[in-house]
Symmetry: C2
Subunit: 162 residues, 2 copies
């Protein structure tokens, strides 16, 4: 898993640009983060990891922001901090997101392994293991189930009313 | 609604101190924020509003942190940014939380009105209205219903399996 490093305050408009919001997620994902790194969307590979600074996912609540990252195959998001609505949406979509106070120690191109359940980021390039903030077991399970809706379907075993 | 202003990086241990975690929410709430403002928990009144800086609710995922604020009758939380897990827990408990880039314009003791649906903070003391980041309608409805569990009970109309 190759790391793509981004800075502070990456907002939802950088992740899912407003001018493409009328298109489907395939098209939106193609433009994910292009304002920050034009090569990202065409070069990223399934299983890669995004590592960022503070306040990742700031701005609007648009669910397409984490959806675009998931669509590109991003395996996990690691940041010093996340914007609340983005963080909620990411976990609800089944996209693992971990808060790591030392995320700045990771470099673009490093190869890493992320253990979501244990909240660990293992940097295979440097040999370092960085501790992230623990995720409650019920949220680990929800993400493993693929997000909130599949998780509820599995737990509730009855049709929703809408 | 009187405002209580706090700074950056107020963590969950300040909100729900670790040494009281073995007690019930009534006792935990009595010590809410005592490390920052010893008068807070005994002076705050139902309907008051907490206004903070960046990264409010950082640290552990303990649900007692937003639960203590709710137990004290806090009507809304306004911050420049929230920690992701705290933010998730707050909305799930039915505690309105809004991101306001200009939260620093509010002073302790100001009287305010918070419109969660319109994402507005009206400062009755200064006459200013501050725009907060919009909340998606389904989350407004969830908070209005009293949080995630009452919201799901209402929507799903069938018993859970656990």
């Amino acid at each position: 898993m190759r790391v793509w490093v981004f800075g502070d305050d990456i907002d939802t408009d950088a992740l899912a640009p407003g001018k493409y919001m009328k298109f489907d997620i395939d098209e939106i994902a193609r433009h994910c983060l292009e304002a920050v790194d034009p090569a990202f969307a065409s070069s990223v590979k399934a299983g890669d990891v995004v590592v960022a600074g503070r306040n990742f996912g700031a701005g609007s609540a648009r669910e397409q922001a984490p959806a675009a990252l998931k669509h590109l195959g991003i395996a996990a998001l690691i940041a010093e901090s996340f914007a609340g609505l983005f963080y909620r949406n990411a976990l609800n979509l089944g996209l693992p997101a971990l808060v790591c106070p030392e995320s700045r120690r990771v470099r673009s191109g490093d190869r890493v392994q992320v253990d979501f359940e244990k909240a660990l980021l293992v940097n295979l390039t440097t040999g370092e293991t960085l501790a992230c903030e623990a995720i409650p077991p019920h949220l680990v399970q929800m993400v493993r189930d693929g997000g909130l809706l599949p998780h509820l379907e599995k737990r509730l075993k009855c049709p929703t009313t809408s």
